[in-house]
């Protein structure tokens, strides 16, 4: 069964450093998402991406964050200068369609645990 994959599973970085989290969405999916879950808190939407551009983003997704689809398979989240509060599980998701075309079930990857020291 096709699945979303993410690398690395765990990333440790120093405050102020740049990190890139990688995702390979399901191959025939067209819509891509990043969510995060800070320990003990809810899963929160960050950004959605379609046709090589951001389609929507949350207030969390500020100028420190960027997303890219550098080739036909990868989808990346870059944090330019990490802060302590960026420590969280970051989940990539993908869907074949999106609202309002259809009801979109989003399929999630296993996550990358980011620890900022």
């Amino acid at each position: 069964e096709p699945e979303v994959t993410q690398t690395p599973s765990h990333q440790v970085t120093q405050m102020g450093q740049e990190v890139i989290l990688r995702c390979v969405p399901i191959s025939n999916h067209l819509y891509f998402y990043w969510y995060r879950q800070i320990l003990g808190q809810k899963v929160e939407f960050l950004v959605s991406f379609y046709n090589n551009e951001i389609s929507e983003k949350s207030e969390i997704f500020d100028d420190q964050f960027s997303v890219e689809r550098p080739d036909g398979s990868n989808f990346t989240l870059k944090i330019r200068s990490t802060k302590l509060e960026d420590s969280a599980m970051y989940f990539c998701a993908s869907s074949h369609d999106r609202a309002p075309v259809s009801y979109n079930e989003q399929f999630f990857g296993p996550g990358t645990r980011l620890t900022v020291l």
């Binding site: 993410q6 809810k42 899963v43 389609s55 929507e56 999106r98 609202a99």
Partner: protein, 113 residues
């Protein structure tokens, strides 16, 4: 963000019995409702969904009920199995805000053999 609330952080049931997980929401513009299951060290796994034009959707042992007047969503698992032990999240979508999902806090379900 209190738009979606799962008031029970945990639920424990005996194998073979029914598990009922609940979710309340505040925004009447939400039009699509989903349940995800999450095991430790894994991402959320889609389980079942329901649109706002329905009040029930069933898939095997899993049934989701939607009470729009009460803004209440529930997931019934019957019969419950030990492998169902996981964190269950409800998630909602508002049509006018695109595809973003808003999640509840999650409920840890433990099914005892």
């Amino acid at each position: 963000d209190q738009q979606v609330k799962q008031n029970s952080p945990s639920l424990s049931v005996q194998e073979g019995r029914i598990s009922i997980l609940n979710c309340d929401y505040t925004n009447s513009m939400f039009d699509y409702f989903l349940w995800y299951k999450k095991y430790p060290a894994e991402g959320p796994t889609f389980l079942i969904s329901i649109s706002s034009i329905k009040d029930k959707n069933e898939d095997g042992r899993f049934t989701v009920f939607l009470n729009k007047s009460a803004k209440h969503l529930s997931l019934h698992i019957v019969p419950s199995q030990p492998g169902d032990s996981a964190v269950y999240f409800c998630a909602v979508r508002e049509e006018t805000s695109g595809s973003r999902l808003t999640f509840g806090e999650g409920t840890q379900l433990t099914v005892n053999p």
